[in-house]
């Protein structure tokens, strides 16, 4: 799709703002609508747009399928480790109040709650984003007999 200069320019303008909006949704989820799930989906949408315009192979160079698979586990581990961290700091599983030491009882420590929610939502965002991207990679993949044999992506991939 190299001859579509309008599409390429518009995509280059749009992708950074989509990524920025995803990060806004992620970290502003406590204050406005949004959160990890929506942010993850929007973040992936930027990569999918990149795939549509520049082709699957170029997107895989930016963020490889292996990295995506590792990240999808990292999100779940981050979430669970927040839970275990609060156990080790003297609270119950996922009791965020224990995360930041304070004189207050755990249930009445909003600072810890805030940190906990932020980390947990980040875990959700990472997992959702990378799982959707890996599903998309698999759905969009062409028959490998064409790619693996000669290393040239076939026409299908370019037009997606």
């Amino acid at each position: 799709m190299n001859h579509h200069i309008v599409l390429r320019v518009v995509a280059k303008l749009l992708i950074p703002s989509i990524l920025l909006f995803a990060l806004y949704t992620q970290f502003h989820g406590d204050y406005g609508p949004g959160g990890g799930f929506q942010a993850g989906v929007i973040y992936t949408a930027a990569f999918i747009l990149h795939t549509l315009v520049f082709g699957l192979e170029n997107t895989k160079k930016i963020i490889s399928p292996t990295l995506v698979q590792v990240l999808s586990a990292v999100g779940v581990i981050l979430y669970a480790s927040v839970g275990f961290a609060s156990i080790f700091l003297g609270g119950n599983f996922l009791e965020y109040g224990a995360l930041i030491p304070s004189a207050l009882p755990h249930a009445a420590n909003p600072g810890g709650q805030h940190l906990g929610i932020l980390l947990v939502e980040l875990g959700v965002g990472i997992t959702v984003s990378s799982v959707i991207l890996s599903i998309f990679y698999n759905f969009a993949a062409e028959d490998d007999s064409d790619i693996e044999a000669d290393g040239i992506p076939n026409e299908k991939g370019k037009h997606e």
């Binding site: 989820g29 406590d30 949408a45 909003p110 929610i117 959700v124 799982v131 759905f139």
Partner: protein, 174 residues
């Protein structure tokens, strides 16, 4: 929305059907928006109208755009569909009336607790986030695990298929 849904069922061209599904999701998200469920509308617009349409289109790329025309009217599936639809419509009568003040949603004490205390408990003005991430943290951990498992499932199904293809292809070359 209703027109859109009816047209989807009549559509023989799957490509147009996929686009109409996307439009349906977008209409649904405006519907959620008017009900003041901003987070749900957000998700519906991003997932329903965006990502799932892309996935459906990617699938169509592999399987083709047109359905085979149905030759005979099959009685059993029709009966099952009518039966299930009848059950669902019958079940509707037990639902509490829309927007009634004495619905369980409004009278259960936990709703009041969330509304009064979620901001002071978690310092998070968005009640939805507070409930999802803090009060129901276990729930959300389970959901993330489900998403992760779904990802692994797709990898196993589709990734495995391609490896098999390669293995089948190799002996032919040699």
């Amino acid at each position: 929305m209703l027109i859109c849904a009816v047209v989807i069922t009549l559509m023989r061209n799957l490509f147009a059907g996929a686009i109409l599904l996307s439009i349906y999701s977008l209409l649904a998200s405006t519907f959620f928006m008017t009900m003041d469920a901003v987070d749900v509308a957000f998700t519906e617009a991003a997932v329903g109208a965006g990502i799932s349409t892309i996935l459906v289109l990617a699938t169509l790329l592999h399987v083709g755009h047109d359905t085979k025309p149905a030759k005979t009217l099959r009685v059993l599936p029709l009966l099952v569909t009518v039966f299930v639809a009848g059950l669902l419509i019958y079940g509707l009568h037990d639902m509490p009336g829309f927007g009634q003040a004495n619905n369980p949603v409004h009278t259960h004490p936990i709703a009041e607790y969330y509304i009064e205390n979620s901001e002071s408990d978690t310092k998070s003005p968005n009640m939805v986030t507070a409930i999802l991430a803090s009060y129901r943290g276990y729930d959300t951990l389970g959901e993330v695990t489900v998403v992760f498992t779904a990802g692994i499932g797709v990898l196993l199904l589709l990734g495995g298929r391609r490896k098999n293809n390669k293995r089948k292809a190799d002996p032919k070359i040699s």
